[in-house]
């Protein structure tokens, strides 16, 4: 032990101790020992069993991006079909499956998981911690996500993919009108995916309240953390609603129950309530963390702190609070009482207040700063513009009468893509440009980067702006073709061309990733000269993140000398060492005072196996293999028991005096 200044230790050292404070420069004994305890085994076993949040975060990002590409290819097929009137490339049924899978893939398998990837990778680094609160749960959540994604695609090659649209309304998706396995795959897949999202959200919530570095009081956490926290709380509250809806639908379809069965007193509108109670907060869950990415990264390129930190944090939560109450706005056209419609319509408009606060904060940050026009900045600035356009068309549809006119037209398709691509895809790609050096230790190419931005930005607007027009001309969504007498030929052609331009932009980005991985310039710890904690450690960060747990003194730990806010300075040199096995510090929820030394779990493949067994259980349900289902349930229970078994190494068991070799 290098910490020689530790004098005496009480005997019950393993249940309480005074944590060592010291320095651990690279190459010192402590640092070497930390690396040894935290690094995963090389080879496939280490790969399967790692619980390192950085590995898991990157897996999330890569997997979700692959789903984005799959969903994108589906969209391109759709756009080829719609480029000209009366085309026959796709049959109506194929078209239904394609737009359904496109929506499902984008909304469920790309949009949230990619943000979970960012947050998983970044949270512990942003918060100055060694890992998430539940590293094994984190691995588990990734595996279930991967398996659920594969599950939802199993019937695709058979030509029996989900075909009822991503919100899957009954009675069309009920047993009478949709007899194949299409909807069952979707229903069970969604329940499975719900498990992943729920445990992931629980992990974020607990991590925020327990795992921050000493001194990182609640008013110093980065906005990305607020965004993901808000999304996670919402997920915990609303995921059960959609999981239940899909499970009841599966019961209706396979077990003969009557929840949505009109002939026997069931109510299709029940589906819509359960779905949108979930669906609307979900829409915010897939944008708030992305807004957080911008709020944290944009200031780096404006060379000044974000304007209105507190307002932004509050706006983030306000958006979600209101978001809970507006699910009805997806049901304006269902014949609900007018009073209800008016209230919900008004609430929907109120959302524009916190959203505008956010927009003004970003604009003010750019305005008052000295912008540096690097690629990430372009993506973030582009995002602000698209946010405004998407927001405007959103306010328009919050007006009930206008919604009646525009509902189910391409105006909605335009709105939803401005919101989703604008507020999710642009920040995500910008975020990858921004954190790529942290992920890999290398910079991405600027020339290709700027090119990819302009191609994506122009392609996107050429592709999606005319859709508003198509909607106003009355073109309904979800039609597999149209007659040229409708006068929609021109807009559709332009839209299709724009889509391909956009796709080329994404391709340039991917080429950039591949090239930069090999040949990018080496990045130091802090290539952008940014302010937050993740840039205080090397790129890529070591397995233990921080050899010495930082002690934080302000919201901008790396800009303190420059901003000179007069408070103390954050301390990266000397602090908690926590090197007796895998350890982390737990601090108090508000003012981040050290509370306990946490024993963190070692690498283990139990999460993988538990995830596998649960996924196989769903396969059993799908195929009605009841014995197989039972067997996987038992196997899963055993895996869970192994997981939960109290361990001495984690100080979970009573230990007689003197026996502390765990």
């Amino acid at each position: 032990m290098a910490s020689a200044d530790i004098t005496e230790r009480p005997i019950d050292d393993h249940l309480a101790r005074v944590p060592e404070i010291g320095c651990a420069p690279p190459g010192s004994d402590i640092e070497v020992q930390l690396a040894r305890t935290w690094e995963s085994e090389p080879g496939w076993r280490g790969w399967l069993s790692t619980v390192d949040h950085k590995a898991i975060g990157l897996r999330y990002i890569v997997t979700a991006f692959i789903f984005l590409i799959i969903g994108g290819l589906e969209a391109l097929l759709i756009r080829i079909q719609l480029a000209r009137p009366d085309q026959t490339l796709l049959t109506p049924e194929q078209y239904n499956q394609l737009f359904t899978m496109h929506g499902v893939t984008m909304i469920f398998l790309y949009a949230l998981p990619i943000l979970s990837g960012f947050s998983n990778y970044l949270w512990p680094l942003l918060l100055g911690s060694r890992d998430m609160a539940f590293p094994r749960l984190n691995a588990f959540s990734y595996w279930i996500f991967l398996f659920a994604g594969i599950f939802m695609y199993v019937s695709f090659p058979l030509g029996q993919a989900p075909n009822g649209g991503w919100f899957n309304y009954v009675p069309f998706s009920g047993p009478t009108f949709n007899t194949g396995p299409n909807i069952d795959v979707f229903a069970l897949g969604m329940v499975l995916l719900g498990i992943s999202t729920s445990v992931g959200s629980a992990n974020f919530v607990v991590t925020l309240f327990r795992m921050r570095a000493p001194g990182m009081t609640i008013n110093r956490v980065p906005i990305l953390v607020w965004g993901t926290l808000t999304a996670s709380v919402a997920n915990l509250l609303v995921i059960p609603s959609v999981s239940l809806a899909f499970f009841l639908l599966w019961l209706d379809r396979q077990m003969g129950t009557h929840f949505f069965d009109v002939a026997n007193g069931g109510k299709p509108l029940l589906w819509q309530h359960l779905f949108w109670i979930f669906g609307h907060p979900w829409v915010y869950a897939i944008v708030l963390p992305a807004m957080g990415i911008v709020s944290d990264a944009l200031p780096t390129f404006c060379r000044r702190p974000l304007v209105g930190y507190t307002a932004m944090a509050l706006a983030t939560m306000a958006v979600m609070l209101i978001g809970f109450e507006v699910w009805i706005h997806h049901m304006f056209a269902t014949g609900l009482p007018t009073v209800a419609l008016s209230i919900f319509g008004a609430a929907s408009m109120v959302i524009s207040v916190p959203s505008s606060i956010a927009v003004f904060a970003w604009i003010a940050t750019i305005w008052l700063g000295r912008p540096v026009f690097k690629t990430p900045f372009l993506f973030f600035a582009g995002f602000v513009m698209l946010f405004v356009i998407g927001g405007l068309s959103g306010v328009m549809t919050a007006a009930v009468p206008l919604d009646w006119q525009l509902n189910e037209t391409y105006f909605i398709v335009a709105h939803l893509h401005y919101v989703l691509l604008g507020i999710n895809v642009f920040p995500v790609v910008g975020g990858i440009y921004y954190w790529f050096p942290k992920f890999t230790g290398r910079m991405m190419d600027e020339t290709l980067g700027k090119l990819s931005f302009w191609v994506m930005f122009i392609g996107f607007n050429v592709g999606f702006f005319p859709m508003h027009w198509a909607g106003l001309l009355g073109m309904p969504r979800r039609v597999y073709t149209y007659s040229s007498r409708m006068g929609w030929d021109g807009v559709n052609m332009i839209t299709s061309i724009g889509s391909f331009v956009f796709a080329i932009g994404v391709l340039i980005f991917l080429v950039n990733v591949v090239v930069s991985l090999k040949r990018g310039a080496l990045a130091g710890p802090n290539p952008w000269d940014a302010a937050t904690l993740e840039w205080a450690t090397s790129s890529p960060p070591p397995a233990y993140n921080f050899a010495v747990i930082p002690t934080v003194a302000s919201r901008h730990p790396l800009w303190e000398d420059r901003l000179d806010e007069g408070r103390g300075r954050s301390n990266f040199k000397e602090g908690l060492l926590l090197a007796e096995g895998r350890e982390a510090i737990s601090t108090s929820p508000i003012d981040a005072k050290p509370l306990a030394i946490l024993k963190m779990p070692d690498d283990t493949s139990t999460p993988f196996f538990l995830g596998l067994f649960i996924s196989l259980l769903f396969v059993g349900l799908l195929l009605h293999w009841w014995l197989f289902t039972a067997a996987t349930a038992i196997a899963g229970s055993l895996a869970l028991i192994v997981w939960l078994w109290p361990r001495k190494a984690l100080a979970q068991r009573a230990m007689p005096q003197g026996d502390n070799n765990g």
Binding site: L237, T257, F259, D261, I597, K599, P646, A651
Partner: protein, 199 residues
Amino acid sequence: MVEPVQLQSERLPVGSAGKLSGGWWGVQTLIVTEACLFGYLLFCYFYLAAQTEQTWPPDGLPSLLVPGANTLILLASSACVWAGERGVHQSRTGRGIAGLTAAIVLGTAFVAIQLMEWRNKPYGMTTDLYGSLYFTITGFHMAHVIIGLAVLLLLLVWAMLGYFDSRRYVAMTIGGAYWHFVDVVWLFVFSTLYLFPYL
């Protein structure tokens, strides 16, 4: 130059120390999300019951005697878990074991009686809308009781292996919290399915 802040080091608990442990926070998030799940289930019940054109419940008012007694059995099991946890806290592992054993017996009795209830219903899950609701809601709860029983059984094994003492027993607290949750949920399920039709 402003000096870097220095952390003062104090003596801190190590590892899974009671309510400072990760598991305790984890089970709370589990309880929140599961409570929502049951909330939505009961929402379905009220939403459909409010709009039905059938008599509700179709087979007349449910008898309260057996389910009422069963409710008391479940509540008693919660009390046993609570007593067991206190026992462990006071270093009386024997009491802990006794409390858990009693809770498991009572919980199993609840399951058996509930299965009998199911058998005695003249309708099934597919007979009508009410049957679907009744069996799905009680089925969800039953699944939770069975998982809860498995948890209690594990706790019992761990207690007998001597894993708990007065300073390290957070598994008891966590498992206990889950069991209490399952019991409280039953009060809502019971009120909805058995008491509400009398209003």
